[in-house]
């Protein structure tokens, strides 16, 4: 069991290094709207404005899934979109990353029912989760840099208690 776990950890480390070396300075992003209210899209659109200047960090938006390294998914993943989401993901060349963007995509707004899956993780293998309703362009940039391993994620170290105690 431990040998298998070690092999898995080594594989994860190799994949991490490959993602960092291949995508660290050039990453092409395709956005996928699975029923969002379009405010996440507005924030994503602001990324390429001069204030945030996505391109200085080596990120580029592309309209074609076949040119994309990273799929940025917004919305609660409506069931009517299953086939299109899978086709988009399969059309991307590997290695590929999926980033779930916004509270809808993370399961905070719509519970699973007959119309929505409620979370993107039900359909696609998500690598990075970016919370926020909507996530600000700064939060999106941090999420993208976490995805290509240029920044460490910090949410697991936060307690969200005002006095610093956990209990």
């Amino acid at each position: 069991m431990s040998a298998a776990a070690d092999g898995e950890a080594a594989l994860a480390e190799r994949l991490r290094q490959r993602v960092a070396s291949q995508f660290g300075r050039s990453l092409h992003i395709r956005t996928l709207d699975t029923g969002s209210c379009a405010v996440c899209e507005q924030e994503i659109r602001l990324l390429s404005a001069p204030h945030y200047d996505l391109h200085r960090l080596g990120f580029f938006l592309t309209p074609a899934p076949r040119h994309a390294d990273l799929l940025m998914v917004t919305g609660p993943m409506i069931r009517a979109f299953d086939v299109a989401a899978r086709k988009t993901y399969e059309a991307m060349p590997g290695p590929k990353l999926v980033v779930a963007t916004g509270a809808c995509a993370l399961g905070g707004v719509y519970p699973a029912d007959a119309f929505v899956h409620g979370t993107v993780g039900e359909i696609l293998p998500v690598d990075v989760w970016i919370p926020g309703c909507p996530p600000s362009p700064l939060a999106l940039l941090q999420g993208l840099l976490v995805a290509v391993d240029r920044l460490a994620e910090k949410v697991s170290g936060l307690s969200f208690t005002a006095d610093g105690a956990d209990s």
């Binding site: 300075r25 200085r56 960090l57 080596g58 509270a103 993370l106 399961g107 905070g108 707004v109 519970p111 993780g121 690598d127 990075v128 989760w129 970016i130 919370p131 926020g132 309703c133 996530p135 600000s136 700064l138 939060a139 940039l141 941090q142 999420g143 840099l145 976490v146 995805a147 240029r150 920044l151 994620e153 910090k154 949410v155 697991s156 936060l158 307690s159 969200f160 208690t161 005002a162 006095d163 105690a165 956990d166 209990s167």
Partner: protein, 113 residues
């Protein structure tokens, strides 16, 4: 060869780091709440859970479970208890697993429990 091109080749820098300096607009962003653990009992926890429109908060026994990934930073729990719940100021919240977003906040127990 233009000078700037030669300079770029020499330095080999194609992209920049993030952020170059703290962004002043970040202070204005709505952020998920931070809870003052000494002030929240079971009753207040129930009110906080009822106030939230998203599925970010729920109570599990003597623990208030806060799923940051599901929080929409609407501020309604801060309206219910402005002293016990304050904005955390954290907005760079991207994580690589959903388990990392779940925070457990211990509740104050009444005497005799």
């Amino acid at each position: 060869m233009p000078l700037w091109f030669a300079r770029g080749l020499r330095r080999g820098i194609v992209t920049t780091h993030y952020p170059a300096r703290p962004d002043p607009s970040a202070a204005c962003l709505p952020t998920p709440p931070a809870f003052r653990t000494g002030m929240i009992d079971r009753q207040l926890a129930g009110e906080l859970v009822a106030a939230g429109p998203s599925q970010a908060l729920h109570r599990d026994g003597d623990v208030l479970v806060f799923d940051v990934s599901r929080c929409t930073a609407c501020g309604r729990c801060q309206e219910v208890a402005p002293l016990a719940v304050t904005p955390s100021g954290e907005f760079e919240l991207a994580g690589t697993s959903q388990a990392a977003f779940v925070k457990k906040i211990g509740l104050v127990l009444e005497a005799g429990q």
